[in-house]
């Protein structure tokens, strides 16, 4: 292990390290801590110029109450959920199948198809902007969650397929052969042998996609408008427009918007990091 394990160092170094950790963490997360503090400050603190001191009193209930009951935030949150969850399911489903095909079967265009997905994953998505917007308009899906979901599924399929294909490639091929020798039909191999083994990858990927999509802003702006279909990232900007200079409310809003992926991250932390590892460092 590098660097040298700290427990092998002298007592004072250990103590130094232990106390440096929280300090470093606070510095690192300073901007977030500030927002958290902002969000529980009463409005008066800002007009009094009390930006960076502790809140004069706890104003969190009021601020969050405003966010939840006097704005469209709940609506935006719901939209985000209705966009994110189907996308995660769809992208994972498509990429499981594609990954299976690319990871298990040998055929001529295999590598090229795979590269197509990988390359698609890296294109600057702005190049898709105008045509995709037109396509969505033509399909009558402009400003619908469905339109956003369909596009996200398609675009995420690149990354997910890369991820799944690598994962499946890492499975022992002998398992597939064993099943073939036993006369198991190919689709049954997928369902009964490969899918159960992909559970960790599926979990990891689902979490990853969840955060990616939840945090998407660009496509939300390009493909949707208005409170009935925009997700919370776009919502927060109109929220901001509405409450400009009301930092306590904006902070509360920002925290509300950031919370679901953060919660997801903490709940599924193991999968999430495993996911990054599986998908990336492999």
């Amino acid at each position: 292990m590098f660097p040298k394990p700290i427990e092998k160092s002298s007592r004072s170094i250990q103590l130094g390290y232990q106390s440096l950790l929280p300090v470093a963490l606070i510095l690192w997360l300073l901007p977030l801590i500030a927002v958290a503090l902002f969000s529980v400050k009463p409005a008066g603190d800002f007009s009094a110029g009390n930006y960076w001191n502790l809140p004069s009193e706890f104003g969190g209930w009021e601020n969050y109450g405003k966010v939840f009951f006097e704005s469209d935030m709940p609506r935006y949150l719901l939209n985000s959920l209705l966009i994110t969850v189907p996308t995660a399911i769809g992208a994972v489903a498509l990429s499981c199948m594609a990954g299976f095909a690319l990871g298990i079967y040998r055929f001529k265009s295999n590598l090229w198809l795979f590269f197509m997905f990988v390359a698609g994953n890296f294109v600057p998505f702005q190049i898709l902007m105008v045509p995709v917007r037109d396509l969505t308009l033509d399909l009558g899906l402009y400003n619908t969650k469905t339109g956003l979901v369909l596009f996200h599924i398609a675009f995420q399929t690149g990354f997910c397929t890369l991820f799944m294909r690598n994962f499946i490639k890492g499975l022992p091929f002998a398992l597939i052969e064993a099943a073939r020798v036993e006369g198991v039909a190919e689709w049954k191999i997928f369902v009964y042998v490969v899918l159960p083994l992909m559970k960790p990858a599926i979990a990891a990927l689902a979490v990853l996609i969840f955060t990616f999509i939840w945090n998407d802003y660009f496509w939300a702006v390009v493909l949707t408008q208005g409170v009935e279909s925009q997700p919370v990232t776009a919502g927060i900007t109109s929220f901001n427009a509405q409450y400009r200079a009301a930092y306590h409310l904006m902070s509360a809003g920002a925290i509300v918007a950031a919370l679901p992926p953060v919660a997801m991250f903490f709940l599924m932390q193991k999968h999430f990091i495993a996911g990054l590892t599986l998908g990336a460092v492999k």
């Binding site: 007009s47 009558g140 702006v221 408008q225 208005g226 900007t237 109109s238 427009a241 509405q242």
Partner: protein
């Protein structure tokens, strides 16, 4: 007659006060037509500007907000706005005479206005009094005032130019006062060169202000709302803005004793005073499905009674477009109304980004902002604007 079906309205009145006004207006119209199902969608004002293209072509509402003059031209040209000349027929034309021109393109009317508002200088009366200043009538007085304010450790004007258009307001006024309304509108219509004596004179005046430190320093970082606290807290003495700023300033704690208004002072002698008074409008997209109800709604919007109500100080706090309606008993509205009706012989402009084509407005306002930060770049900026103009007005 009784209206039925759905009426879909898209609105950009997203700030708290306008939003409530819009919702109230929709509700009242709904009460008049119980069988009509009104769906009101309110979209963030900045976002609305980019989204209108999309919803005019797909997912079309029956009524939509927009702006008058050049700003509506692309949609008129593309056939996306319905010709509503029939709504204007009859007495309405008289009642709305003052804004009819702004709604007319190619001899037809393409929507109705619902509000307009004056621009001008909103200032801290208490500070002026403290320093012994009075409302300036000429640029010289203005500069003298400003010097005293600067000497007192304040800035003369607060400004938030992050979203550019506030700089457009400054140019409008400086140019209209320096060169007059006709030159200004010709310039924005692409008929005059930016690199001209006249425009340079305007910028020279502006530069005088810049050089004396009249503006707050970091205006590029702020939206106009974010720039208001400087005024509210007394760090700046005034702001050049539209009347919509009154409500947030009052919210920020300024009383009518502290806040006052004056018309932007004259610069070049003999140039008639002209004002910016942007008109906000309602239109019917040509793809609307319930045009009958939409037209009824438009008529309702401009009716004298409704105009009085929605432009009241506790609502939009702006000027009604219907000559029959009454201006609210609000000192700013009264002052503005008086100014526009009797003291702007030069004409009424819509606003920089409504009078110039969108693309030109963008490039132009960027140049204006750049000028405010780097006045020495003026030559390059003017050259750039002329080059852009060449392409855009082609």
């Amino acid at each position: 007659q009784q209206l039925t079906g759905d009426l879909k309205i898209f609105s950009d009145m997203s700030n708290p006060a306008p939003r409530a006004t819009m919702e109230g207006m929709a509700a009242r119209f709904g009460e008049m037509h119980p069988d009509l199902n009104i769906e009101l969608t309110i979209i963030d004002r900045e976002a609305y500007k980019t989204q209108i293209r999309n919803f005019l072509t797909a997912n079309t509402p029956d009524v939509a907000n927009w702006y008058a003059a050049n700003r509506m031209r692309p949609y008129v040209d593309a056939g996306l706005f319905e010709d509503v000349s029939d709504v204007w027929e009859g007495q309405l034309s008289e009642e709305l005479a003052s804004t009819k021109g702004a709604m007319t393109l190619d001899g037809k009317q393409w929507g109705v206005p619902y509000t307009y508002y004056q621009w001008g200088v909103y200032y801290r009366k208490d500070i002026y009094e403290e320093l012994g200043l009075s409302e300036p009538a000429t640029f010289e007085e203005e500069l003298a005032n400003c010097q005293k304010i600067v000497d007192s450790g304040r800035t003369c004007y607060t400004l938030g130019s992050k979203f550019l258009w506030t700089a457009g307001g400054w140019f409008d006024y400086l140019n209209m006062r320096t060169n007059g309304y006709d030159f200004h509108s010709a310039l924005l219509a692409g008929e005059k060169k930016w690199d001209s004596e006249e425009v340079r004179a305007t910028f020279a005046n502006w530069r005088t202000l810049l050089d004396m430190g009249a503006f707050i320093e970091n205006h590029t970082s702020y939206s106009y709302q974010e720039s208001l606290p400087f005024l509210a807290q007394g760090d700046s003495a005034a702001i050049l803005i539209g009347n919509f700023a009154v409500a947030p300033l009052r919210d920020a704690g300024l009383t009518d004793d502290q806040l006052d208004f004056y018309q932007f002072p004259a610069i070049t002698e003999g140039v008639a005073m002209a004002e910016d008074a942007p008109t906000d409008t309602f239109h019917i997209p040509s793809g609307a499905s319930n045009k009958e109800a939409a037209k009824a709604f438009l008529k309702f919007v401009v009716s004298a009674e409704n105009q009085t109500m929605i432009n009241a100080g506790d609502a939009l706090g702006q000027l009604p477009v219907n000559s029959k309606s009454s201006v609210d008993d609000d000192k700013f509205l009264k002052e503005g109304f008086a100014m526009l009706s009797s003291n702007s012989p030069g004409g009424v402009a819509q606003f920089f980004d409504r009078d110039a084509p969108a693309e030109m407005a963008k490039v132009g306002m960027e140049g204006l902002q750049e000028f405010m930060v780097r006045p020495d770049n003026l030559d390059a900026i003017l050259a750039r604007l002329d080059k852009a103009a060449e392409r855009i007005y082609k």
